[in-house]
């Protein structure tokens, strides 16, 4: 209570400054996780300092202080990012400059610089998150900045901030249609110059490499990787829900890597995909990954439909885009869950999948030789079955917390730790297979997923990321083997995901009502998905679709511009019409009088705008005598129409006066 009275009794300048500082804090707040620690602390200290100075009405620090702080910021940015350019360094600098600029609020120009930096800082939020909460926070911040800006242009007295907020809100509300129009019709284009490399750093997802045993504990990231809408809501059996990502076939003992696409011309072989059965048709909304690959359900023989990107298929059945996918994309695809692929005979390309680093994993190699020597394992399927049997019965367990593995990861898995997650298991399996002379490779991607009951979208999370194996079989081609399924049958094909212990908050909710949590989450994610589909995924193709619906046969970006131009012209015409209408709202009697005055002026009788009809009539009589008699009468009638006592004068009278005006002979000057 005391605080509020203190706040309301602040002088205007202090109040305005505190408000602006609050808005700046709101802009910076969502970024805290992405900014270096020193930056956040510096911003907090500067904002608090400035607030204190404002409340105590003390002078601002001199320029030496500001210069020193600026130097600190520059050095800090350089030390943190090793550059002053680029996205992350730029974000840090913008935020620090925004805070430092508040120490220099003197001229009107300084205030404007703060506003402009504020708008930039708001945009930088979107580098890291374009989610609904971020959007909401930034909408608030924008309204706050506009309020401060409006308030700065109310120079008189101490107008309440609510007044400025109302004006700002009104402007935003009226500006919203313009925003929607521009958003819908502004042609979406490819980046004007090369997408900055750092555009996507810090986003999790699949990667082109897999370093086995490097991660002690796998944190399950519940972030969403993709959403799939199956046509007619027909979801294939979970056992075949393998979404293919990068295929890793090169192994250096620690790290699996995917061969760069088409780098080895000799190894290029057609995918030789043979499909059967009925296709599954679906649309995927892929979260931005800054990777070139698309997620498709195994196996998609036809190029997915993704406008704006050039797509090509790899021999590993992957679909790649011509450039990294930096924004949310949506594409249609169709897949056949029954398929065979790869060469039927041992070719050079297949043989490459036998490579192992020399001398690594000696015990696994020995195990392979031992398995191979068993006549029961003569065929590849039998060998695979034997290994899977070993995984099932050999005391191997699935864990998300395997600890760090040393070198010879396959040996460590098969003989020492005997535990791990899909990476360890798939890697150890493929090493064993290769040692036994069976071409094998690792496929990464997503397995399973779950249905969001609110909007019917099938959701793939980062925690659904999976690694499995493919072994090559003479006469058949590549065959999928998921060794993780043998260790932890629950990992593949059921709803029971191995979840980490929930945090305190989620735990409490979960204990109360697990379904409530699930429902709330489903509703929230559906809302988010709507946001994604309608806002974040509004792309060039959707724009062109819109034009098609508007009746353009083969719409192009130029047509978008045309529509925008037409709307502009239409709006301008509407504005002009409105102005005319507004003018017509002036008193018709006064308008008639003004017309009469204008004609008298032409006739040589200059009269002030305040002259009443009677005075005009007298002037006419003085100037023209009897020649002006009809005009005099008309003017007196005009007077009577307005001022006569009896209310016989009506709008009809005015109309007749108007027509009479055209008939009477106007004297010429």
């Amino acid at each position: 209570m005391q605080l509020t009275t203190q706040l309301t009794s602040l002088p205007r300048e202090a109040r305005d400054t505190l408000f602006l500082l609050g808005v700046i804090a709101l802009i910076v707040l969502p970024q805290i996780g992405n900014l270096p620690f020193w930056c956040t602390s510096l911003v907090a200290v500067v904002l608090l300092w400035r607030g204190t100075l404002a409340v105590q009405a003390r002078p601002l620090p001199n320029r030496w202080w500001r210069g020193a702080l600026l130097l600190v910021a520059l050095v800090g940015t350089y030390v943190t990012h090793r550059t002053l350019l680029g996205r992350d360094a730029g974000v840090t600098l913008v935020v620090v400059l925004l805070a430092l600029k508040t120490l220099e609020l003197r001229a009107r120009r300084d205030a404007f610089v703060i506003f402009f930096l504020g708008f930039f800082a708001m945009l930088t939020n979107f580098f890291y998150s374009q989610s609904l909460p971020t959007a909401f926070a930034m909408l608030l911040a924008l309204l706050g900045l506009l309020t401060a800006l409006v308030n700065a242009h109310m120079p008189v007295g101490r107008p309440p901030l609510v007044q400025a907020a109302r004006t700002a809100g009104g402007m935003a509300l009226l500006g919203a249609p313009i925003m929607v129009l521009l958003f819908v019709l502004f042609p979406r284009m490819a980046p004007l110059w090369g997408t900055p490399n750092d555009a996507m750093t810090g986003r999790s997802g699949l990667s082109a490499t897999m370093r086995v045993g490097a991660i002690a504990q796998l944190a399950l990231d519940d972030g969403i990787a993709a959403r799939v809408k199956f046509d007619d809501d027909v979801v294939p059996d979970r056992q075949v829900l393998y979404f293919r990502g990068p295929v890793l076939s090169q192994f250096d003992g620690r790290e699996w890597t995917a061969p760069p696409p088409f780098s080895r011309a000799s190894a290029f072989t057609p995918a030789n995909l043979r499909v059967s059965g009925t296709p599954v048709r679906y649309a995927v909304t892929l979260e931005p990954s800054n990777r070139p690959w698309l997620l498709t359900l195994d196996a998609a023989p036809v190029k997915p439909d993704l406008p704006g990107y050039e797509l090509f298929g790899t021999p590993e059945l992957q679909w790649l885009a011509s450039r990294p996918i930096g924004d949310l994309v949506r594409y249609r695809a169709e897949s056949y869950t029954q398929y065979q692929s790869g060469p039927l005979r041992r070719t050079g390309a297949v043989q490459l999948n036998l490579d192992l680093p020399r001398g690594s994993n000696p015990r696994t190699v020995a195990l392979a030789a031992q398995l191979r020597s068993d006549p029961a394992n003569a065929t590849t399927p039998a060998l695979v079955q034997a290994v899977l049997q070993r995984l099932r019965t050999g005391g191997y367990t699935y864990t998300l917390d395997p600890g760090v593995y040393g070198d010879d990861t396959a040996d460590v898995f098969w003989f020492e730790r005997k535990e791990g997650f899909c990476e360890h298991i798939a890697s150890a399996f493929v090493v064993l297979m290769r040692a036994a002379g069976v071409p094998a490779r690792i496929v990464t991607g997503y397995q399973g997923g779950e249905r969001n009951d609110v909007d019917g979208y099938w959701t793939l999370r980062n925690s659904d990321a999976h690694a499995w194996a493919e072994v090559w079989q003479e006469g058949v081609g590549w065959v999928r083997v998921d060794p993780t399924g043998s260790v932890a049958p629950g990992r593949v094909g059921t709803f029971n995901r191995l979840a980490p212990t929930p945090g305190v908050f989620a735990g409490a909710f979960g204990a109360m009502s697990p379904t409530l949590v699930q429902n709330m989450r489903a509703a929230w994610e559906a809302l988010n998905n709507g946001w994604n589909q309608w806002v974040l995924n509004y792309t060039q193709s959707k724009q062109l679709d819109l034009l098609k619906n508007l009746g353009f046969d083969s719409p192009s970006l130029a047509d978008l511009g045309l529509v925008l131009l037409w709307l502009l012209v239409a709006t301008s015409l509407a504005g002009a019409a409105w102005t005319l209408w507004e003018r017509s709202r002036t008193d018709p009697w006064l308008r008639l009088l003004a017309q009469a005055r204008k004609r008298l002026q032409k006739a040589g009788i200059a009269l002030p705008p305040t002259a009443p009809p009677r005075q005009m009539a007298e002037q006419v009589r003085a100037r023209f005598g009897d020649a002006g008699k009809p005009l005099q009468d008309w003017l007196l009638q005009l007077e009577a129409q307005r001022y006569a006592r009896e209310s016989a004068a009506s709008a009809k009278g005015l109309a007749s006066l108007r027509s009479a005006m055209r008939r009477i002979p106007w004297p010429q000057g």
Binding site: Q130, H153, A168
Partner: protein, 323 residues
């Protein structure tokens, strides 16, 4: 004056001459102008950079932010124009002022619409001395516009201008107003004028000789003034007055004193420059008025018979202003 400034002044003069002078001005679409301010251009640049960033990083939310901001600026332009459009300005006819002294015009702003108009500044065109005000919904506000009158004379009120940058400061909306009223500017009174000139005998130089002879003849009495000689006091009357309980003294009034009158003459100023003379005369008029003396004014060919009072003072000052 360089050629560019000359051309600009010509254009400015032409622009002003197109406006019919009037003491009231209704602001409409036709006489309210709008241009972006420097801050407006800077905001435009900001919008462009935001747009490029949105394109390059393919941020749909960035597009939304950019376009919402652009929408707000577009609406702000309309609001800014609307702040002046529909406003009616009325000049309260200005009084007379002394040249060079700070003075004000009063302008009454009428707001006919149902919402407040914020941040309207008024100034003499080109003076840069803005007085800001808000005009309440459906009400009026009186603004005092500071100005410094130029040289003496009867002048047209200088062109005024009203301006606003509300709400975003991105646009400057203004109008130019040529009021029809004239204002009278008196000469600037001299800062430290010499004392008033001595009185002149009534009737001019011809009476001078006789006045010397008639010294010592008393024509009547008048109330005592400080500095009257002791022998001029009518002691008989003083005794009578004191008996009646009054301290009033009465002096004999010499015909000589009555026949002298104060003439403020531009020739008696002893100055060569006309304006300096007028300044001194102006200061003398004010001084004589303050002393409640009868004074007459003789400037150039104009004569104002000795008298006193506010009307006389004004008449004198007006004569000084217009001669």
């Amino acid at each position: 004056m360089n050629p560019a400034a000359a051309v600009r002044a010509r254009i400015d003069g032409w622009f002003l001459s197109r406006r019919a002078p009037s003491d009231q001005l209704e602001l409409t679409q036709r006489n309210v102008y709008i241009v972006p301010t420097r801050a407006g251009w800077a905001l435009g640049l900001t919008l462009a950079v935001l747009l490029v960033a949105s394109i390059n990083y393919q941020l749909n939310l960035g597009y939304l932010l950019t376009f919402l901001l652009a929408g707000c600026v577009a609406v702000g332009m309309h609001v800014c124009h609307g702040t002046l459009r529909g406003l009616a300005l009325n000049l309260v006819s200005p009084g007379a002022h002394f040249a060079g002294a700070a003075a004000v015009f009063r302008v009454v702003l009428h707001n006919g619409r149902g919402s407040v108009r914020y941040g309207i500044g008024l100034a003499v065109r080109g003076s840069g001395q803005w007085s800001w005000s808000d005009v309440p919904a459906g009400g009026t506000a009186t603004v005092e516009v500071a100005f410094k009158p130029p040289q003496r004379g009867l002048h047209a009120v200088p062109p005024l201008t009203a301006e606003t940058r509300f709400p975003l400061g991105t646009f400057r909306v203004w109008c130019v107003w040529r009021p029809a009223a004239k204002m009278l500017v008196y000469p600037a009174p001299e800062q430290h004028p010499p004392p008033l000139p001595p009185g002149e005998p009534r009737g001019g130089a011809a009476a001078q000789a006789s006045s010397a002879q008639s010294a010592g003849e008393y024509d009547g009495v008048r109330p005592y003034r400080r500095g009257d000689a002791m022998k001029l006091v009518v002691w008989k009357k003083a005794a009578r007055a004191q008996a009646a309980g009054s301290d009033d003294l009465v002096s004999r009034d010499a015909a000589q004193a009555q026949r002298h009158e104060l003439w403020l003459d531009d020739r008696s100023t002893g100055l060569a420059d006309v304006e300096a003379r007028l300044s001194r005369l102006c200061a003398w008029v004010l001084m004589a008025d303050r002393l409640a003396l009868d004074y007459g004014l003789r400037v150039g060919t104009r004569f104002l018979a000795p008298s006193q009072g506010e009307a006389h003072k004004r008449a004198c000052l007006e004569a000084l202003a217009l001669c």
